[in-house]
């Protein structure tokens, strides 16, 4: 078997790779970018301890967000919980910065934005847009509170364009790559399906051929004899042969149906023939049954045909799970023992005669 990867797994693997890349990006930014800025501007802060604490809160939010996204697309509650914590931490850090140089020493805006990208990446794009807008508004709000000058506004717009622009670009890029991975997976899926169809067609063709060969051996000679008049339809033996061949034909047809391997299905086909002869046939199963391989099924259905053909007025067929396999039993008023093979293809057949009733059981074990 060639290992065609299930497509959902394949496209999922790509998506996970993109997620890991974003996690690295965000963690890297927070450690090197934000952390570096924080240490570099250390003397400028009113309280370095507060800034450090906010940086740690942001780091924890990023860690929690990473765990969330590596587990799959987060639900809105945990995703937004992380985002709101990042927003609060960055606003607090901005508010505690010295008024005149808030933007110059601000490490938090970028980190908060990337945290939002991390947790909202695979959710609707508008959610990320709302978050980034809220983040920008909060930073601008702090600046307005501190007293907004024209140069500050220009600086704000520059940082907005650079930082938020990069975040939006990364988010859009990952969305595009997700789409491409989905398409690649769909292509692989259709190829896999085509290969499977071809393989199924081959199996069906082989099964048809086998059935045709089986008919050549048994049914065709009988039909030929009937046509030539050498077999007399009035002869009970010829009638029995006809009944058996009719049952076999039905069974072979049943084998080709949509439910390959259904023993019950095949037994039903055999029962139909007996019913036409006026034999009442019950078929009952007890519980879920294990699948039985083809050759063993054939031994069982051959036994069924032999017993049903000998049945005079009634027959009961039951299927039940037994140990590691299946027990198919027949109770019929045959009047006498029926010639059955004792064993074949892993199937053991036993029978017992009680008055006019025959009990026979075919057991197949997987081990």
């Amino acid at each position: 078997m060639t290992g065609v990867q299930p497509t959902a797994i394949m496209s999922g693997r790509y998506q996970r790779a993109f997620t890991i890349a974003v996690v690295f990006l965000v963690v890297g930014w927070h450690l090197a970018g934000a952390g570096g800025q924080l240490l570099h501007n250390r003397p400028a802060y009113g309280s370095f301890a507060l800034q450090g604490a906010m940086w740690l809160v942001m780091a924890l939010a990023i860690a929690a967000g990473s765990v969330l996204v590596l587990r799959g697309t987060p639900a809105w509650r945990p995703a937004w919980a992380v985002a709101v914590i990042a927003l609060a931490a960055s606003t607090a850090a901005a508010a505690a910065s010295p008024a005149s140089q808030m933007l110059a020493v601000n490490w938090a805006w970028g980190s908060a934005g990337w945290t939002g990208v991390l947790v909202l990446l695979r959710r609707r794009f508008t959610e990320l847009a709302c978050f980034l807008a809220a983040e920008a508004a909060a930073t601008l709000g702090v600046q307005v509170w501190d007293g907004l000058h024209r140069t500050d506004l220009a600086g704000f717009l520059a940082v907005l364009a650079w930082s938020t622009g990069a975040q939006v670009a990364v988010a859009a890029g990952v969305k595009a790559l997700d789409g491409a991975a989905g398409q690649a997976a769909a292509a692989a899926r259709s190829e896999h399906a085509a290969r499977e169809r071809a393989a199924t067609a081959e199996v069906i063709r082989a099964a048809r051929h086998a059935r045709w060969l089986a008919l050549q051996e048994s049914t065709v000679p009988l039909v030929a004899e009937l046509a030539a008049g050498t077999a007399d339809p009035g002869d009970p033996r010829v009638r029995t042969r006809c009944a058996v061949q009719a049952a076999r034909l039905r069974r072979l047809l049943a084998e080709g149906d949509e439910v390959p391997g259904s023993l019950v299905h095949e037994l039903h086909a055999s029962a139909d023939v007996a019913e036409r002869r006026g034999v009442a046939v019950e078929i009952e199963t007890a519980g879920p049954l294990p699948p039985v391989p083809g050759p063993a099924r054939r031994v069982i259905t051959d036994a069924a045909i032999a017993i049903l053909t000998a049945a005079r007025s009634k027959a009961r067929i039951t299927l039940a799970r037994a140990a590691t396999g299946i027990a198919v039993s027949f109770v019929a008023d045959t009047g006498a023992a029926v010639r059955l093979p004792a064993v074949g293809e892993g199937v053991a057949i036993e029978q017992q005669q009680d008055g006019g009733m025959l009990w026979a059981e075919a057991r197949w074990n997987s081990r």
Binding site: E282, E284, R316, A320, A322, S329, W359
Partner: protein
């Protein structure tokens, strides 16, 4: 002669009611007397002409499955024999778990219904082939543990052999076959929800020597946490019921 067992039929199809009544009439010993018929459950409560020992209940009345009504009937003191066209093992199991004494499918009615009613009236187990099938098909984790012999007897019975043939096949007496099958049924009475009918069946099984008290400790699944099987107040369990002391000499069970 003993008093005949009184029976009520709850069945929404008059033709079926008529058929059941004719089976009851044609019983040579006249062991069962039909006292009431109703087309729905409310009819049973409406006309208390004469108390019925056993209720033959069609499980589907006016297109609705009424297995959920069985506990109410059992609590009212009726013994219930379910008679249904449904032979789905899950429904059979639910019916028995709800406290019905026996389950007879409509195909089995002619041969088994009167006997099942008589067994129910005596609180004795009666296992039809469809019940055997449901037990064999049972794969619930909380199912009782059956012995290999009990399972084999149930399987051969389900397959369609007469009990005498099952005995010959297993090289045991027909009576022992009945004992194995009854014991399997009694084990089921010891599991699931509690019902006075189950307790009565178990007590009778112990009295008859079908099962020893030690054998009916129900399989306890970890899903069934708690102190164990509880009995409703005023209804002592069969194990400590002073009215039914277990006989000192149980017949040998091989």
């Amino acid at each position: 002669m003993e008093q005949p067992v009184t029976v009520a039929i709850i069945e929404d199809h008059p033709v079926v009611t008529e058929g059941v009544a004719s089976w009851i009439r044609s019983d040579p010993g006249r062991r069962v007397r039909l006292v009431q018929t109703a087309r729905e459950l409310t009819g049973l409560h409406a006309m208390p002409r004469e108390p019925a020992d056993v209720v033959i209940l069609d499980l589907e009345l006016s297109g609705e499955l009424v297995t959920g009504e069985i506990p109410g009937l059992v609590a009212a003191g009726y013994r219930v024999v379910a008679f249904s066209g449904h032979s789905d093992p899950a429904i059979v199991m639910e019916t028995l778990d709800n406290g019905a004494h026996a389950y007879v499918s409509k195909e089995e009615g002619r041969d088994h219904l009167v006997e099942a009613v008589l067994a129910a009236a005596a609180d004795r187990p009666y296992v039809t082939r469809s019940q055997a099938r449901a037990i064999l098909a049972d794969e619930r984790p909380a199912r009782p543990a059956l012995s290999e012999q009990e399972r084999q007897a149930l399987l051969l019975w389900f397959q369609g052999m007469s009990k005498a043939s099952v005995g010959r096949r297993m090289s045991i007496s027909e009576n022992t076959v009945r004992q194995y099958i009854s014991r399997a049924r009694a084990k089921y009475a010891a599991t699931g929800r509690t019902a006075p009918s189950k307790d009565a069946l178990l007590a009778r099984a112990i009295e008859d020597g079908v099962i020893k008290p030690g054998e009916i400790v129900p399989y306890r699944s970890f899903a069934r946490a708690g102190p164990g099987r509880s009995h409703p107040p005023g209804h002592p369990g069969p194990l400590n019921d002073p009215g039914h002391p277990s006989p000192p000499d149980l017949p040998p069970q091989r």
